[in-house]
């Protein structure tokens, strides 16, 4: 974490510290809450759970079916109690991507905290109106024959993309697949690529 991040505005920091201090005093905030949250999110970096879920779905057809039909039951197998997720499946003919145009809704329990770009106006404004142009700029050039299906997370339902398993990974097992599965692929702004080094 950039404790010495150069863009830290002293005015903002003093506002945060003041509010923190008052909420401690009023019994709203626990004294060690900030440290605990930092530890938790920095330990659980990135979309690890989402990647594990996808790797399982790629290697276990029954789990894949469960994940798409009853994601809550599927997540319970990973010890996560989360009833708000829907998983949307990429195919030869459909590419899914996820956005929240009104704020920055994101499936934290499976993907961790969202990257900054997901929360900024450029992504939020363009994802619904020109997703192909946007994806192309971000490195994903989709064929015109593939439908682009954008999920605008306007309620408490959260969306995660089930990417296509790339060719060349047929011999990899679940654990070997996990590190290939990036957060961007689970949001739908990238596809999963077979890492040359990871292919046996």
């Amino acid at each position: 974490m950039g404790k010495n991040h150069p863009n830290v505005d002293p005015y903002v920091v003093s506002r945060v510290r003041a509010l923190e201090s008052l909420l401690l005093e009023k019994g709203v905030l626990a004294p060690d809450a900030v440290d605990r949250v930092i530890q938790r999110y920095e330990a659980d970096t990135g979309p690890m759970l989402g990647a594990r879920v996808v790797a399982r779905a790629w290697t276990d057809p029954d789990f894949r079916r469960l994940l798409l039909e009853d994601p809550t039951a599927a997540l319970r197998r990973f010890d996560l109690d989360y009833a708000m997720l829907r998983v949307v499946e990429n195919t030869e003919t459909v590419h899914n991507m996820v956005v929240c145009t009104l704020c920055s809704c994101y499936p934290w329990p499976v993907l961790g905290l969202p990257p900054t770009w997901y929360k900024m106006p450029a992504y939020r404004s363009r994802a619904v109106s020109e997703p192909r142009a946007l994806l192309k700029e971000m490195g994903l050039d989709l064929p015109a024959t593939r439908e682009v299906r954008v999920w605008d997370s306007s309620a408490e339902m959260r969306y995660m993309v089930l990417p296509r398993r790339p060719a060349g990974t047929e011999r990899l097992g679940e654990a070997e697949l996990v590190p290939l599965i990036t957060r961007d692929a689970l949001i739908g702004v990238a596809e999963v690529r077979p890492a040359a080094a990871a292919v046996p």
Partner: protein, 226 residues
Amino acid sequence: MDGVHDLGGMQGFGPVEREDNEPVFHAEWEAAVLVMMRAAGSRGIFNIDEFRHGIERMPPAEYLRASYYEKWLDGITRLLLEKGVVGADELAARRAFFASRPDAPASAALREPPPPRVPSNPNWVQDCIRETGATPRFAPGDPVRTREMHPHGHTRLPRYARGKRGVVHRCHGVHVFPDTNAHGRGEQPQPLYSVRFDARELWGESAEPNQVVHIDLWESYLLPGR
């Protein structure tokens, strides 16, 4: 509220800029803002809809300039003041204290030892489904049309999808209604649907080919379609 937060379809924001190896937090204060938001929300000081609307009420130029956690800070400060949980005077005094002692821990300025904390509901955001037994008005496959409405308050019907025709994809059950819950007018739960819109319906002749948008919409946003 047709504010600048309602970004879908807006132009002029340039390319998406990705940060390589982005840290989870860019500074400790960001984590502190996240924790305060959760502490206040999980103790019922505000609900998630009030929180979102608190951010939407930022001055528009500030909203577009601010970072994500600055927006949160602005929103929770506004709500804590409005709810009377903190006072403007004590907040200003405390801010002046930390401005002059930037390295002091948050506990340094305490006037009295913290009281026992009130119980929290860690599930406060997800806790939005209500088993009311309401019968959904629409079924998957039904054509619908969204209302042409421009309320001054909080709504989750984006401006780009007003007065547009779509098709119901599925029903997510009965959910708390943000448009009332954000304004102290109760949960008024109603069926929530995933509605599919063809991009040509949303963007007309400017639509990209072969594109759809799914939006989660509450039943009262919808009218039977053609």
